[in-house]
Symmetry: C2
Subunit: 342 residues, 2 copies
């Protein structure tokens, strides 16, 4: 019932049991040359019998690499819980970390200052061997921080935002353009976009691309939100309250949760999707296939994206310089929520 007091087994115990020195045990467990097969076996046997595995803490302190990767996320908890993107991304990251038997140190922060503080103290405290940076904004303070600290990172975001940092990104501009072209090809001339948080760099990129792509149309609207479903609903409601000739016939959303919210607002207002208004989601989590009608989306392998980011981080940590690169551009996946305007 009560926990037995833990008799911490250390390298010394293993060494004693195997009849060798600490150093020998260390060599064996790091697969370094300089030990006979027989000794090696004896050491592993002793370790197994004692249930010992090396203390990562001590190992880290002694100067070898740290096998923990940091991720500080800065969005309101309310939004985070709902956004499929993050967990998907994290699970992709994890899938690669697991191969290196590394773990993810996760921290939710309230603002950029806090994130800067967290990253700095993680690194200073040798808690992490590298970090994944997300949600870049213009003049992001993390660029300078990282260079000052020499912290190995991979930045998730377009190079125009991430300074000289190694980065991995999706080509949002092209994707937005493709989305608009698709809707225009269907015959839509009045298109709106419900964007994410204005402060975020990739939102700005999408906004600019939308301006560019939709500029020639009869009507174009853009609204900034905080990515939450509520905000998506509000934005949709205000876009659709105009009388028929003045309102958009198609709406593009910056994530799928807002698209779902938009779908229900349309229903609530008595508008049929896609007959009266077409909706196009972003990211394309499973959610898009659960609604009725199903949501057309700009589809995106978020899990694979996370995995690629993690792989790149490992190459940065091991000095391989990795090199910035984009992942495949989201592709249009038409489903039931888009059609030519009535």
């Amino acid at each position: 019932m009560t926990a037995t007091p833990t008799p911490r087994v250390t390298i010394k115990d293993v060494a004693a049991r195997a009849g060798v020195s600490k150093g020998a045990v260390s060599l064996a467990f790091n697969h370094k040359p300089g030990l006979s097969e027989a000794t090696r076996d004896r050491i592993f046997l002793a370790a197994r019998e004692l249930g010992w595995s090396p203390s990562l803490t001590a190992r880290t302190l002694a100067g070898s690499r740290v096998d923990v990767v940091g991720l500080a996320v800065c969005r309101p908890a309310r939004v985070l819980g709902l956004e499929p993107w993050y967990m998907d991304f994290v699970s992709g990251v994890e899938s690669v970390l697991a191969e290196h038997s590394s773990s993810l140190l996760l921290r939710l922060v309230r603002n950029m200052d806090e994130e800067v503080g967290v990253q700095e103290s993680w690194w200073r405290g040798r808690q992490i061997g590298g970090s994944i940076l997300v949600d870049f904004r213009a003049d992001d303070p993390r660029v300078g921080l990282v260079e000052r600290l020499g912290l190995p990172v991979v930045a998730v975001g377009h190079p125009s935002l991430t300074g000289g940092l190694t980065s991995v990104w999706t080509d949002d501009a092209t994707a937005v353009t493709e989305a608009v072209r698709y809707l225009a090809a269907l015959g839509h001339r009045r298109i709106a976009r419900v964007g994410g948080a204005a402060a975020l760099g990739h939102t700005a990129i999408r906004t600019a691309a939308f301006d560019e792509a939709a500029g020639a149309l009869a009507g174009a609207w853009q609204v900034a939100t905080d990515f939450s479903g509520d905000a998506g609903a509000r934005a949709t409601r205000s876009l659709l309250t105009a009388s028929a000739p003045d309102r958009p016939t198609a709406i593009v959303y910056d994530n799928d949760i807002m698209a779902v919210a938009g779908l229900s607002v349309a229903a609530e207002m008595g508008l049929r999707v896609p007959d009266d208004v077409s909706l196009l989601a972003w990211d394309d989590s499973q959610l898009c296939r659960l609604t009725h009608p199903t949501l057309s989306a700009m589809s995106h392998d978020v899990h694979g994206f996370g995995a690629e980011v993690a792989r790149t981080l490992f190459s940065v940590i091991t000095g391989g310089e990795g090199g910035s690169h984009p992942v495949p551009t989201p592709v249009l996946t038409p489903r039931g929520s888009t059609a030519p305007p009535r």
Copy 2:
């Protein structure tokens, strides 16, 4: 452009600059008595000037407590990304960890064996000071593991599942009973439940409670799923294909994502919600308010639950024994998806 080589500042540098010994710096930074105000100030000044903060790694090694909390989660990535519950829970946990400036070490595992291995090596490697255990099943191997290791944990699950471990749980049985009573009070006599993964302990508890509560009704169905939206859709479809007198007039879901899927299946089959069939969700994330009609749900402060779990873990870690206790039972939140049968 290139990262400046990091000149690691250590406690020795700070001590030298402040003109004191390492020990004095340590005392100052741990707010321990035995130093004059003047010296204390001098030390903090020196530390600030050098941009030093203590290495958590070294601090941990030197025997003080570890301020990282472990969480290994074992569900398919596909489901995880979508389930609002986890991120909500995690953000609740984080909110308390942040107060203690601790972080969360997260790991997605594929099965129980892997989780057991991860927990053991985290603890052995002194990576964590304690752990949060979720998704208990009958005869859970983690109970024995924890007792063997002496690892401080808080188990999320009913005491009947978590052995002697300190646990925090929601009273699922009562909640299920309340849900059934509510639907019965509306006049429903044929009620179905789309449950979660059968292997999970809390699913079993809910299943038993439903059996008990719905036993006296004219019709009662239960289906087990994997919590995914697809499974929820399939289950709903098969429940609703029967001809009218033989099919349920109300369905309870074990999470909200399946309820959303159910809603769209009903629409696809031409059934009106709540006129033809009432739907009741579980957990009640923001998602329930984004659909049309909005989803009635058994509502639950998942964020607060996470926070309470974290608080309890800290009290276990500091030897305070914490004590197992339930959090408030989910309460019924009626919205647009439930009504008397036609």
